[in-house]
């Protein structure tokens, strides 16, 4: 299963997963 939270900062190897969490925030803001 995906673990985007483990791929949110380049120093940890990758920031590619951050878009998943950004999507969630974006979706909640859009709903307000």
């Amino acid at each position: 299963m995906p673990h985007p939270e483990r791929a949110c900062e380049s120093p940890l190897g990758s920031a590619d997963g951050k878009i998943v969490l950004d999507s969630v925030v974006h979706s909640l803001i859009a709903r307000v």
């Binding site: 299963m1 995906p2 673990h3 985007p4 939270e5 483990r6 791929a7 949110c8 900062e9 190897g13 990758s14 590619d16 997963g17 951050k18 878009i19 998943v20 969490l21 950004d22 999507s23 969630v24 925030v25 974006h26 979706s27 909640l28």
Partner: protein, 177 residues
């Protein structure tokens, strides 16, 4: 990091302080054989988590029964069964659905690359039935692929079955695993 307020909720608490989003930590100790999700369900806070998930219609329990989210021993014949390990490494996944809260900013058919702990799964009949239903509901949101975007055996090191599913959501797209 996301510019939002966040807090830790200890597992012995019983409410979620009005959170908009709940993220459950995965448990990867001892080769995933401890089934931490099954153990966690006895924690006091999980009642509130269940209520939270069900507030968005189909609940988290639904997800645990769907392919890809369920835990099990490496399926016979899978790569994971052959190397007899659960591997934790960066892999490529393809975004299959962009009309979910989890993938709304993604471009269809592209990354994100993801460190993953895919869990192999024996494909029993009930699981297969559920899988058909999840496919019909467009619930598969990530799939393991090679760096060039192809579905290959090597791109799915832990043998997630069926059909290289990496990530799914519930029917209401309010929970993802």
């Amino acid at each position: 990091m996301l510019g939002q307020d966040a807090c830790f909720v200890w597992h012995k608490e019983t409410d979620l302080d009005g959170a908009d989003v709940v993220i459950l930590p995965g448990g990867f100790a001892y080769g995933d054989y401890l089934r931490t999700g099954a153990i966690a369900r006895f924690s006091p806070v999980m009642g509130a988590v269940q209520t939270f998930a069900e507030g968005g219609r189909a609940g988290h329990r639904d997800l645990q029964r769907l392919p890809g989210a369920a835990r099990g021993r490496p399926a016979a014949g899978s790569d994971a069964a052959q190397h007899r390990q659960y591997r934790c490494q960066f892999v490529h996944v393809r975004v299959e659905q962009t009309d979910t809260p989890f993938t709304g900013l993604c471009t269809p058919g592209t990354g994100p690359q993801d460190p993953d702990r895919a869990l192999a799964r024996a494909t029993t009949t009930p699981i297969r039935k559920r899988w058909k239903s999840s496919r019909g509901n467009r619930q598969v949101i990530f799939r393991y692929v090679s760096p060039t975007g192809d579905v290959t055996k090597e791109a799915n090191p832990n043998g997630s079955l069926p059909d290289d599913i990496a990530g799914i959501c519930n029917r209401g797209a309010t929970s993802s695993a």
